[in-house]
């Protein structure tokens, strides 16, 4: 399919508008979800406060830098739950019921369509709260990150989003073969939760797994280190390269899955 950026932007805009209308349809739900987002952010602070209550440093991370990791975790969770999870959960359901057929009947790239079917707008609160935590951490440090650090962080966050998204696409692709993927989806959510801690907290095999297999380090610790100015250029480039490779892999698996797709009831 030829790439038509204008066309895809228009479809994306309509799709986001539809999600917003859906969210507004249930006003009470919208408010409750917003409040929940704030509550979770607040609760996420507790373990960190307890941990740093009687010590100054954990695995080489002081409180303020660890708070930057938590802030980025909150931000990334907002992106994940607001822009990535809803669509892909919906797709898994559609594959199970066979309604996915209608997606394949549309003259647009199917991966694009399944990735943009649903958004959960209230998770903007998570993103703002996360950014707030990072800003607060820097006031505690008594300095502001430089422009280069900020740019590197944004690039790494984009890479991290690409990786999370790619993981999801791989799960959805797997759903074509095994149909029921809800549990794996929840497992991914649970594992992602570990990204609230700096990667150095994990030892040995876990650190390896969370760096290379399920790249949690890339999602929060590395962007935080970039923001704090402690990440090497080589590591940053490796992250970007790895994310690009992961994205390409997910795309290839997706195309293969579509080829093998046979709908739920034939």
């Amino acid at each position: 399919m030829t790439v038509r950026p204008g066309y895809y932007l228009r479809v994306l805009a309509v799709s986001m508008r539809t999600s917003l209308v859906t969210a507004m349809q249930y006003r009470a739900d919208f408010l409750v979800q917003g409040a929940m987002s704030l509550l979770w952010t607040g609760l996420a602070l507790f373990p960190l406060l307890v941990l740093y209550g009687d010590r100054d440093t954990v695995a080489g991370w002081d409180f303020a830098p660890a708070l930057v990791v938590l802030g980025l975790f909150t931000l990334m969770r907002g992106v994940l739950e607001g822009a990535i999870n809803p669509s892909l959960m919906a797709v898994i359901e559609r594959i199970r019921t066979g309604a996915f057929d209608y997606t394949l009947l549309k003259p647009a790239d199917a991966q694009f369509l399944v990735s943009t079917t649903r958004f959960a707008p209230w998770h903007v609160i998570d993103v703002l709260a996360g950014a707030g935590l990072v800003a607060y951490a820097f006031t505690r440090l008594g300095r502001a990150p430089g422009v280069a650090e900020l740019a590197a962080t944004l690039a790494l966050l984009a890479a991290a989003i690409a990786v999370m998204y790619s993981l999801w696409i791989l799960i959805v692709a797997a759903a074509f073969w095994v149909v029921r993927m809800d549990n794996l989806a929840f497992l991914l959510g649970a594992v992602f939760d570990a990204a609230r801690w700096p990667i150095h907290v994990f030892k040995g095999a876990w650190r390896f797994v969370f760096t290379f297999i399920i790249p949690l380090a890339l999602m929060t610790s590395y962007p935080a280190m970039a923001l704090l100015g402690t990440l090497t250029v080589e590591a940053a480039l490796a992250c970007l390269g790895g994310a690009a490779a992961f994205f390409a892999l997910a795309r290839a698996v997706w195309l293969l899955a579509i080829r093998n797709y046979t709908s739920a009831s034939s």
Partner: protein, 328 residues
């Protein structure tokens, strides 16, 4: 135009006997079986034709429609629809066809149908002027009225189907694959949908391929039927010719009393429902039988009809699990 040559679609399915033990074993060791859903099917449908696609459960109807609309890759054989190979799912191909599945829905559950239509307008790249014109036409033909603004979850099944049809036709496709579009609808809604399909076919010279649970749909809409069974075509041609070949006798029905022994001489008794009697009479004897009946006292309301398509199907698929034919 649709052209299908020696189409085969085979599935590999996981097979396990019933029971918990077998379920546990199947987690470790799975046995597979190949199902020949469609096994060497060929036909050609010209632009503007309305063709009924009939067969019992699991005959391969839905599989064929899915191959024709690009959802399934054929195992072998050649398929051309509107000048395209469907499995490539080219954007230009998808803009020319539509597949309506009576048992699945594309309307967004929580929102009014108009939102789904707007989304489809963007996805199909329909320009606003064409969109408005088509929507106005569909609104008139389907009598959509206020339905567009009601949340989908509040619509009745029939209202929802009308809106599903609108969603499927807003890009004005010229090839329509309709898989059980009237399933579960009441009789008057079935008639509405049927009339709509005919009107759309005539206005846009659209090709229609229809499967239906209800033989009335097929009789009303499709001069030609293709009958498929076990993945093979067993009839392709005129609907009347099929009826004549399978059940050559006519149905003669009338109201009024007639003695049992007289009836037995006239033809085979099909039913006696209150004052109304229906007989099966060979065409060659029709004149004689009618004459006799008209001579009789108190006989009126005489009608001569073809046997119902249901009976034809029943005879065709004798011993098959589903009668009348169902989604397959």
């Amino acid at each position: 135009m649709i052209e299908v040559r020696d189409l085969k679609k085979h599935f590999k399915v996981h097979k396990r006997p019933p029971g918990l033990g077998a379920a546990l074993r199947s987690i470790v060791h799975r046995t597979y079986q190949t199902v020949e859903a469609v096994d060497g099917v060929s036909f050609r449908i010209e632009r503007g034709e309305r063709v009924g696609f009939l067969g019992p459960n699991g005959a391969g109807k839905t599989t064929t429609l899915k191959v024709l609309s690009g959802l399934l890759h054929p195992t072998s054989g050649e398929v051309t629809v509107a000048g395209h190979r469907p499995q490539r799912r080219a954007a230009d191909f998808l803009r020319q066809i539509t597949l309506v599945m009576g048992q699945k829905q594309q309307l967004i559950w929580d929102l009014p149908p108009a939102e789904t239509w707007t989304l489809n307008r963007a996805v199909f790249g329909v320009n606003p002027a064409d969109f408005d014109r088509t929507l106005a036409e569909l609104t008139e033909l389907l009598e959509l009225g206020e339905l567009a603004q009601k949340p989908t979850r509040q619509l009745s099944l029939g209202e929802r189907m009308k809106c599903e049809l609108a969603a499927a036709l807003l890009h004005r496709p010229t090839t329509l694959f309709l898989d059980e579009p009237t399933i579960g609808l009441d009789v008057s809604m079935q008639v509405t949908i049927r009339e709509f399909i005919r009107a759309y076919n005539q206005r846009h010279d659209a090709t229609v391929m229809l499967t239906s649970h209800y033989m009335d749909d097929v009789v009303a809409l499709c001069p030609r039927v293709i009958v498929i069974d076990g993945g093979h075509i067993i009839h392709d041609g005129d609907l009347r010719a099929l009826v004549k070949a399978m059940l050559p006798d006519k149905r003669v029905s009338f109201s009024g009393a007639a003695a049992a022994d007289v009836l037995a001489r006239l033809g085979r008794l099909v039913s006696r429902d209150g004052a109304r009697t229906t007989l099966e009479v060979p065409e060659a004897r029709l004149r004689e039988v009618i004459g006799h009946l008209l001579d009789g006292d108190g006989i009126g309301d005489l009608a001569i009809e073809d046997p119902p398509l249901e009976d034809v199907m029943r005879k065709l698929f004798k011993g098959k699990p589903s009668e009348p034919p169902d989604a397959g």
